[in-house]
Symmetry: C2
Subunit: 651 residues, 2 copies
C-alpha cells in the first residue's frame, strides 16, 4: 500500500474507532474527531515530536485538544501511536474507571498533557505551555529546550472570552512556536455558527498579531504546506483556519449539528463505513499497516528524543552549572523560607507575601508569574528580574494585562508544562473571573499558586464591587484547592512555603490590602491549618487573616472582664481538616463555647463552631468607605467583637 493510501487508511481508522467507541458507550461527540481526522493524521505522523517510550520527555512537543469533547480523536491517536491507551480502554470509553473519560483528563504518562473540555481552557493552557517553552528556551538555549506547542481548537473555544484574552497576549508576545488548528466546521450545538458567530476570525487574529491562514481541512497536502509555513513564522503564533466538515463521511449527518454531540446511530455508522470502504461488520478495527505507519513516525520521534538526550548530556558534561541549574528547575519543591519581621510592626500580608515570594524566588528559579495588571497592588513582582516580553523572554515577571481568566489558564499551562512553577495574582473579588481555570487546575492537580489580595471589605473605599465577601467560602468549596489566609506576615511566609511545597494541587493565598501587626508567635502552625495562638478556657475564638489580631485584642478586652479566651488562628481549613481528630480536638477544645470571626459570609463556619457556637461574619455585600469606618459599622473592631462575645455569653 502506498504511503498516501496508508495515510487515508489512518484517517479512516480514526473515524471508525471514534464512531465505534461512541456507539458502544452510546454517548459522545463523533463530529469533531471525524472532521479533524485528516488534520490529526498530518500533525501526528509528520510533525508532532512525542514518544510513547518516554511520554514525559521534557523537550517533547506539546499537544492540546482544546475542544475536549473530541476526546475520541485524542484517544485514537494515542492508541495508534503506542501510548498506554489500549483498545480495551477505548472500548471502555466513558465507562467507570477507564482512562478514557468523556473529556481528556491530564495524564502525562499516557500523553494527555492537560485536562480539557470546558471550552477555551485548552487554548489558554496551550499558550501557557508555549510561554513556558519560550522562557526555558531563553534560560537554557536551543540545545536543551526547543519544542512547539500544537493545539486543536473549535469555534466554541474561539467564542470564549478566555481564548480572546490568551490570544491577545500570545500575539503581543509573538509566540512563534504556538501553532493552533481551528476546526472551522460552521456548526455548533445550537445550529450553524452563522446564527451566532459571523465575525471575521482571521482578521481578528491578525489584529492580535497572529499569523493566520485558511486551508481546506481535508486536503492533507495543503494542511502540511500551511503547517510548514506556520513553522517558518518565527515571531508570531499561528492560527490555521481549517475548513472542515463536521462528521466528515457520515452520509446524512455530515455538516449538521446532529453529528456534534450524539452517537450517529448504527445505521449511519454502517453507511459511513460502507462509504469509506470499511468492513461494515468490524468494530474497533486497526489495520496492521496503520499501526506500522504510526510506529514508524514514533520511531523517528524516539530518535529525536535520543538525539536531544545526547545533546543534553553533552551540554551537562561541558557545564556542571547548567546541569545543576536544570536540576533546580526540575526537582521537587522543598522550600524552607526564612523572612524576618519585627513583632508589632504593621505590614499588610500582601506586602509580606511580596517579601516571601522574593526570598523564595532566589532559591526557586523556576518560579515565574505575575498579575492581571495589578503587580504593584498584589506585590507579585520578582525584584531584579525583567518583565517577560517578546524581547526579554528570560524575564520572570509576567504582565498578563487585565485578563484574569486567560491568566488562570496560562499559569496552569506554565505549571503543567514542567520545569516551571506558575503563579498569578489579582484582587480576591476577581477570582470569580478566573474560576473556570482555578477549577480545572484543581481537577487536574496542577499546583499553580494564586495570589489573591485585597481580601475583604477592608480594602475600603473601592466599595462593594471590589470587596469580596463570598469568595473565601466559594473557593473553599472547590475540591483539591487549598485556601490559605494568613493572619500576619510570619504566617504569610509559612503559607508561601506550604503552597510552594504542595505538588498535588493548587493553593490560593488570600491576603490583605491593609497593614496587620506582626504577631508574637512561634514558627510553624500554618501547615497544620489551625493552631492555638493564645490559650484560654472560657471561650474559644477562631479567626483567620485580618481577624486574628482583632481576636487577640478582643481576648485582652475579655480578660479585663474576667473572661479567659483562647484564640485559634485557622489559616487553612482544608489542612486543618486533614489533621487527626486528637489534634483538632486539642486545638478547638471540648468544653468552651466557640466563636468564629472572618470578614466574609459565615457559610461553612457552623461546622467548626458547632450548634452552640457563634459565627461573626459579613452575610451581605460591603460598602464604600475608609476601612476603619467599615470595621466600626460592621462590628469588626476589637471592642465590637469583645462586646458581641460578651453579650452572647450573657456576661
Amino acid at each position: 500500500m502506498t504511503a498516501m493510501n496508508t495515510e487515508q487508511l489512518s484517517v479512516d481508522t480514526i473515524k471508525a474507532l471514534s464512531m465505534d467507541a461512541i456507539e458502544r458507550s452510546n454517548s459522545g461527540h463523533p463530529g469533531a474527531p471525524m472532521g479533524m481526522a485528516d488534520i490529526a493524521v498530518v500533525l501526528w505522523t509528520r510533525y508532532l515530536r512525542v514518544d510513547p517510550a518516554d511520554a514525559v520527555w521534557p523537550n517533547r512537543d506539546r499537544f492540546v485538544l482544546s475542544n475536549g469533547h473530541a476526546s475520541m480523536l485524542l484517544y485514537s491517536l494515542l492508541h495508534l501511536s503506542g501510548f498506554g491507551v489500549t483498545l480495551d480502554d477505548i472500548k471502555a470509553f466513558r465507562r467507570l474507571g477507564s482512562p478514557t473519560p468523556g473529556h481528556p483528563e491530564r495524564e502525562p504518562h499516557l500523553g494527555i498533557e492537560t485536562t480539557t473540555g470546558p471550552l477555551g481552557q485548552g487554548f489558554g493552557t496551550a499558550i501557557g505551555m508555549a510561554m513556558a517553552e519560550r522562557h526555558l528556551n531563553a534560560v537554557f538555549g536551543d540545545d536543551l529546550v526547543d519544542h512547539r506547542t500544537f493545539a486543536f481548537v473549535s469555534d466554541g473555544d474561539l467564542m470564549e472570552g478566555i481564548a480572546s484574552e490568551a490570544a491577545s497576549l500570545a500575539g503581543h508576545l509573538g509566540l512563534g512556536k504556538a501553532i493552533f488548528f481551528f476546526d472551522d466546521n460552521g456548526i455548533s450545538l445550537d445550529g450553524p455558527t452563522d446564527w451566532i458567530f459571523t465575525e471575521d476570525v482571521a482578521k481578528r487574529f491578525d489584529a492580535y498579531g497572529w499569523h493566520s491562514v485558511s486551508v481546506d481541512g481535508h486536503d492533507r497536502g495543503a494542511i502540511a504546506e500551511a503547517t510548514d509555513a506556520a513553522l517558518a513564522v518565527g515571531d508570531q503564533p499561528s492560527l490555521l483556519l481549517c475548513r472542515t466538515h463536521i462528521g466528515h463521511g457520515a452520509p446524512t449527518k455530515q455538516d449538521t449539528s446532529k453529528a456534534h454531540g450524539s452517537p450517529l446511530g448504527t445505521e449511519e455508522v454502517a453507511a459511513a463505513k460502507e462509504a469509506m470502504g470499511w468492513p461494515v461488520d468490524e468494530s474497533f478495527l486497526v489495520p496492521a499497516e496503520v499501526s506500522e505507519f504510526f510506529a514508524s513516525a514514533m520511531q523517528e520521534n524516539a530518535a529525536a528524543r535520543r538525539a536531544w538526550e545526547a545533546s543534553r548530556d553533552s551540554v551537562f558534561a561541558g557545564s556542571p552549572e547548567v546541569e545543576d541549574l536544570w536540576g533546580r528547575y526540575h526537582s521537587a519543591p522543598t522550600a524552607g523560607l526564612d523572612v524576618p519581621f519585627s513583632v508589632g510592626e504593621s505590614i499588610a500580608t500582601r506586602a509580606a507575601s511580596g517579601k516571601a515570594l522574593n526570598t523564595l524566588a532566589v532559591t526557586a528559579p523556576g518560579l515565574i508569574g505575575g498579575s492581571a495588571d495589578l503587580s504593584g497592588s498584589t506585590n507579585t513582582n520578582i525584584d531584579g528580574s525583567d518583565h517577560f516580553g517578546k524581547e526579554t523572554p528570560a524575564g520572570r515577571n509576567i504582565y498578563f494585562g487585565v485578563r484574569e481568566h486567560g491568566m488562570g489558564a496560562i499559569v496552569n499551562g506554565i505549571t503543567v508544562h514542567g520545569g516551571l512553577r506558575g503563579y498569578g495574582g489579582t484582587f480576591l473579588v476577581f477570582s470569580d473571573y478566573m474560576r473556570g481555570a482555578v477549577r480545572v487546575g484543581a481537577l487536574m492537580g496542577a499546583p499553580s499558586i494564586w495570589v489573591f489580595t485585597h481580601d475583604s471589605v477592608f480594602l475600603g473605599e473601592d466599595g462593594p464591587t471590589h470587596q469580596p465577601v463570598e469568595h473565601l467560602a466559594a473557593l473553599r468549596s472547590i475540591p483539591n484547592l487549598w485556601v490559605i489566609r494568613p493572619g500576619d506576615a510570619t504566617e504569610t511566609v509559612e503559607a508561601w512555603e506550604m503552597a510552594y511545597n504542595r505538588t498535588e494541587g493548587p493553593s490560593a493565598l488570600v491576603l490583605t490590602r491593609q497593614g496587620l501587626p506582626v504577631l508574637d508567635r512561634s514558627a510553624g502552625g500554618v501547615q497544620r491549618g489551625g493552631y492555638v495562638l493564645a490559650d484560654g478556657s472560657d471561650v474559644t475564638i477562631i479567626a483567620t487573616g485580618s481577624e486574628v489580631w482583632v481576636a487577640l485584642e478582643a481576648a485582652d478586652i475579655l480578660a479585663a472582664n474576667d473572661i479567659s479566651a483562647r484564640v485559634v488562628s485557622m489559616p487553612c481549613v482544608e489542612a486543618f481538616d486533614l489533621q487527626d481528630e486528637e489534634y483538632r480536638t486539642e486545638v478547638l477544645g471540648t468544653t468552651a463555647p466557640r466563636v468564629s470571626i472572618e470578614a466574609g459570609v459565615t457559610d461553612g463556619w457552623h461546622r467548626i463552631v458547632g450548634d452552640g457556637g457563634l459565627s461573626i461574619g459579613i452575610d451581605r455585600f460591603g460598602l464604600s468607605a475608609p476601612w476603619k469606618d467599615i470595621a466600626t459599622e460592621l462590628g469588626f473592631t476589637s471592642q465590637g467583637v469583645a462586646e458581641r462575645v460578651m453579650a452572647w455569653l450573657g456576661a
Copy 2:
C-alpha cells in the same frame, strides 16, 4: 462667555470636581475623569437624551460608565445635569452612606443605570441594554422605543474576555444604536499599555463587524463629528477610539500610571488648576455658566421627553391594544403558573423548566432570553418565537453563542433596561464562567433569571470537567442570589413562579439532566424554601433536587426496617432561612436526628443538620460513567442512602 468657552469651562469644572473629591477622600482614580472630560461634555450636552426631571423615562438614552473607577466623572456629570447627586454627596465621595461610592452602584432615579467597576461588566451590560432597545423597538415601533446606548470603556474593559464575547455578538447582531467611546490613553495600572496590549483594536472590532474610527479625544469638534458619523451607521455598533491623555492637565502626572489610581496630591492639583486658569484656592467650584449650560441641555432633553410622552399618549389613544401590551411589558410580575404533570411520570427538571418557561412566556411577553449554545440541552427556547437576530429582532430566543460571561452581563443589561425580563441558561458547571456577572447582578438587585441545568455528577458520561459538585455551595454564598433546586417537575413550576415574581434580585434555577419521577405532593412549599414531604419521627432526611425522590425511596426502605423517616424537600435554602423560627423548627423537627442529602459538596449543610447530623454529599470531583453507575459508586441510590442512614443510626 461664548458657547465654546463655556464648554471648556465645563470640562475644567469636571476635572476640578474630580480632583477635589478624590483629594478630599484621599482615594480614587483621577486619571480617567480628567482624560475623558472632553468626550463627556460633548456627549452629555450635545447628544445624550436624559432628563433629571424624570430620570427613569423609558425612552431615555442609556449611559454606562464601564470604566467604573472613573466614577467621579459620572458623579460630576450627574451633579451638573441636575440629577439628585448634590455637591455634598460629591464631598462625601467614597464615605460611608454616601450615594457616591468608589464605583457607581445602580440607582436609576439618580441616573446611574447599572453597577460598574469590575472591568468588562459595563461593556456587556450596555450591549444588553442595546439589545433590549432593539427588541422593544421591533415590538412597539419607533414612536414608543427609539433610543441610543452610549458607553465609556477603557483598555481594561477591552482586554477582558467578557467584552470580547459581548462585542462579537453585538457585531453579529448589528446593534447600530450602541455607541462606545474607548478611552485610549495608553496607560494601565502596571504601566504603559504597550507592555501588555499591542493588538490593533480598531481592526479587531472591524473583524467583529463594528464601525470603528479613531479620533483625538480632546478635540471636541472631532468627537462630535465622529459621534454624528457613528449615529449615521444604522446597522453596526460603533467604537470611537478616542486618543486621550490620562490625567489630562496634570502637569507632571499626565500620561503616567501615577495619574491612574491614586489622588494627584495637593501640589499637583494646585498646579493643574493653575495651568487651566482655575482659582487654586477654591474647591468644589461650579461656575454658574456651567450649571446654566448643562441646564439648557437638560431643558432640551425634557422637551424631547415630553414629545415622547405626547407621542406615546397618541399611540395609546389610537390603539388600546398597544397600551395594554405596553402595560404588560412594564408591570410588576405576578405570575401564577399552572402546568399539569402526572404523578410518577419521569421527567427531567430541565424539561419541566422548559414547559414552565413556555407557559409563563404566554402571559409574560417581556420574558426574553436564551442560552450559551445549549438551547436544546437547557430547554430555554420559547416555542413559536423566532430567534433574536439582526433581521428578526422581535424574536425572543437569544442565541448567545459559547459566551457565558457575555451572556451574564447582557441578561443583566436586558433586565435593568426596563420593560423586559432577561434569562440565560448554561450547564451548572459553567456558572463559574459567568460568576462575575451573576455577582454584579446580585449586588445591583437585577432580577435576572439563570437556568443552570446538568446540575450534578448525574449528567454522567461527560465526566468531571462538566460535573458540578461545588457550584451549589458556591452560588449559595453570593448574597442576594436565590438558588432554587427543585425536586421534581411540579416544584420546578413553582420555582419559575418564585424566580419570576422576585423583583429584588436574581434567582438561579438548578435543574437535572436526568429524569426524575413526578412526586405526589400538594401545591405550594417551594416559596417557603423547605417543607415536609413525608412525615416521620425517627430521623429527618433533608434533600434537594434529584435527591428528593431518592430520600423518599430510602424512607420506604427504612420503614420496612421499622425506622420512621420524615422527608423534607428544601429547594431554596435562602427562602427557608427567611421563614420564622417556628416554621423552620416545625419542618426540621426537634427530636429526630437529621440527615442531608445533596449531590454536591457538603459545605453549608452542617448548619441545617446540626452537630449530631449526617451530611451525605460528594466532597470530591466526579467521574465519567453512565449516571446510574455513578450513583452506585458514590452511594446515591435509595438503597445506598438507606443503608448509610441505618448504619449511622446504629440500626
